[in-house]
Each structure stands twice: as C-alpha cells, then as structure tokens.
C-alpha cells in the first residue's frame, strides 16, 4: 500500500521530470450537463469559462479536483476531429502532459513510437500556450503536450 504514495519517489518530486500530467481530456455531448454533473456529483470546481476552439471545432472547459484537472470537450458538429469519438460513446480521450520545450518533447516522442498529427499551435484555453497532439502507436491512444514556458 505504501507504493501507492508515489509523490515522494517520482522524478517529478525530485525535479527530474521532463513531462508532468497537466490534465485529462474527456469528450462529452453537452458541456453544460457534464459540467453540472462533475461539479455537483463529483465535487469538481470550475477553473475556466466555457471557450470555443475554432481549430478543433469544440467547446472546452477546465475543471479541477484537488490537484487533478479535467478538460471537458464538446464537439460542436460532425466536422470536429473528436466527433467520431463522441459517436462511439465519448469519455476518456487523452492525457495532456506539461513540458518545458514542446519541440524537443515532440522530437523525443516521435523517436519512441509516437505519431505527430497536430503540430504545435496556440490554444485558446491555455491563454495562447502552445499545444500539440500525438498518437501512441503502442497504446493506440492520444496524448497532448502543452508547453509551460518554464
């Protein structure tokens, strides 16, 4: 059971980590309904306004519980890249990692079996910070990187 308390042992705690979890992306069909559910039933707080990302054709809001953040993602129409995912049930969509140098992190991950499918671009939900999306060939899952500028 002691091993569940990972904070003391992680590279993050020792200042060696190059990637730390920023948030979990979660696809929903109604951001208002899901925001209500996560706040009223699960105790999340609302960290941001609901914003529209024209590049991804999604509405987004960031929620928080303790140190954990969850991004609710609502595709606005069938042209959104996450619309197919919603049609298949939605839910957990990606893990976003915070990195100091997004270009260096992309290069490293591409050499480790990841496919870059959205190049770094400014994200409205993150105040213009750069984000990129990659696909893990091994896990068949999406990860997002956000450059923290540190």
């Amino acid at each position: 059971m002691e091993k569940l308390h990972c904070v003391q042992e992680t590279d993050y705690a020792k200042g060696r980590a190059t990637m730390t979890v920023d948030h979990i992306g979660y696809v929903v069909d109604s951001i208002e309904k899901s925001k209500d559910k996560f706040t009223k039933q699960y105790g999340f707080s609302v960290l941001s306004d609901i914003v529209y990302d024209p590049l991804q054709r999604v509405r987004l809001v960031m929620l928080c519980s303790s140190q954990h953040r969850i991004e609710l993602i609502e595709p606005v129409d069938e042209h959104s890249p996450s619309y197919d995912f919603l049609k298949k049930g939605g839910g957990f969509h990606h893990i976003c990692f915070s990195v100091a140098d997004i270009d260096a992190s992309i290069k490293k991950l591409q050499g480790e079996g990841h496919l870059l499918f959205v190049k770094p671009k400014e994200a409205i939900l993150f105040g213009g910070k750069k984000v990129a999306f990659l696909y893990s060939k091994e896990d068949k899952k999406i990860i997002e990187l956000v450059e923290n500028g540190e």
Binding site: P81, D84, K88, L115, F117, V118, K119, Y135, K137, I142
Partner: protein
C-alpha cells in the same frame, strides 16, 4: 504495391478488401473514423518505414485514392 496497400488498409480496418475502392470515402466505411485513421497512418509508417507529416494525415482522410497516392509517393521517395 497497390494490392499490398489495399490489403494492409483493409486488415487494419478489419474489413474486406472488396469494400475498398478508389472512390471510397471515410463516410462510406463505418470503421474509417478519425481514431482509426490515426491507426492506419501509424500502421503504414511502420510497414514501409516512412514518415507522414501532420498536414498529410489530414489530406489522406479525403478518400482512398488520396490515401493510397500519398503512401505510394512516400515509398517512391525512399
């Protein structure tokens, strides 16, 4: 080469090669959605040891002809 591409394409999508034609679009195949498109691109990168750029991934999602052409161009450039 074209037959090999079609076979890999169909195998990854778990469909029959008979369902794949030059004019086939993502809307025509239930399994060719945005997530499985990434699976396809990843499979072809590994199969042919090629690198596909983010802009090209979007271009390949128009129809099977566009997908096949891009793969053949990349293989020819090697």
């Amino acid at each position: 080469m074209e037959e090999r591409i079609k076979l890999i394409f169909a195998t990854v999508l778990n469909i029959s090669p008979d369902q794949v034609h030059d004019e086939t679009k993502p809307d025509d195949l239930e399994n060719w959605d945005s997530m499985n498109h990434l699976l396809l691109v990843a499979a072809f990168e590994d199969e042919f040891s090629i690198n596909i750029e983010p802009e090209e991934i979007g271009d390949m999602w128009k129809n099977y002809t566009a997908f096949k052409k891009l793969i053949m161009q990349k293989v020819a450039q090697q």
